[in-house]
């Protein structure tokens, strides 16, 4: 019984990391790319200039770092939990993005969008109520 709840606990912790790291990484990447700006691409030297600005941006590197952390957490949780559990549960990140956008970036969010976030959370609750692993472990 103890290993049973341990499995639940570490699954929830890892999914928490997944739904936190992915939105933070994406927000940082988008911030980094917006600070690079809209530039016209006419020659190879334009491309080099853009690449230089992209890869010297601290936001881009920080974003890549968070996305790496996200991917490692995702791999780790998939080493024991069902894919059909982890994938829908990770959709909580849509809610995290909405909250980040609303409270950190002061973006307006339409009622339809909030409704979508609530429906996703209901779905995640339903999935979260099932056992994370339904296959035999070798």
């Amino acid at each position: 019984m103890r290993t049973h709840s341990e499995l639940h606990l570490k699954t929830y912790i890892l999914i928490f990391f997944v739904v936190i790291f992915a939105p933070i990484g994406n927000v940082l990447l988008s911030k980094g790319m917006k600070s690079v700006g809209d530039s016209s691409l006419h020659s190879v030297s334009d491309l080099v200039a853009i690449a230089l600005r992209v890869f010297t941006s601290p936001f881009i590197w920080l974003g890549i770092g968070f996305l790496l952390l996200f991917f490692v957490s995702y791999l780790l949780v998939l080493s024991w939990a069902d894919y059909s559990f982890v994938q829908p549960a990770s959709a909580t990140s849509f809610g995290v993005v909405a909250l980040l956008g609303h409270f950190a970036l002061k973006e307006p969010i339409s009622p339809t969008r909030w409704l979508g976030v609530i429906v996703i959370c209901l779905g995640v609750l339903a999935v979260g109520n099932t056992h994370p692993r339904t296959t035999e472990q070798q």
Partner: protein, 125 residues
């Protein structure tokens, strides 16, 4: 039109099969129980030696480029709700390819997540 449908299909099918392959690779590694940095690094080194992992990453890369292609033709508020179908494809693939038992409650959850993702993107400003 046919080209668009092909790209959307590719996003859902290649993306989901890619993740299923990655899951399969991690299942061959077995449950990770030791979370010290050194042990985690060894898990990752073992993971990249499993062929399923590379097949999965290749399929995910194909899905990513299909997404870029689809976004160049269509609005993001159309493309992303369509890709919410990946959640249904994922549950089905988990059952067929990984032998997971998707209970009715889990199916209901998957359906709600599909619906919610669609609403989130319809509600874009």
């Amino acid at each position: 039109m046919a080209w668009e449908v092909f790209l959307l299909l590719l996003i859902v099918v290649a993306g989901t099969s890619g993740e299923l392959c990655v899951t399969r690779a991690m299942k061959t590694i077995g449950e990770v129980k030791n979370f010290r940095p050194g042990a985690l690094l060894r898990v990752l080194v073992r993971a990249i030696q499993v062929p399923w992992m590379w097949l999965g990453i290749a399929l995910m890369a194909i899905a990513f480029f299909a997404l870029l292609g689809a976004l160049s033709i269509e609005n993001v508020s159309f493309v992303v709700p369509v890709t919410a179908l990946s959640y249904a494809a994922g549950a089905l693939g988990g059952e067929i390819f990984l032998g997971e038992r998707v209970s009715r409650r889990r199916w209901i959850g998957v359906f709600l997540v599909c619906l919610g993702v669609t609403l989130v993107f319809i509600g874009r400003r």
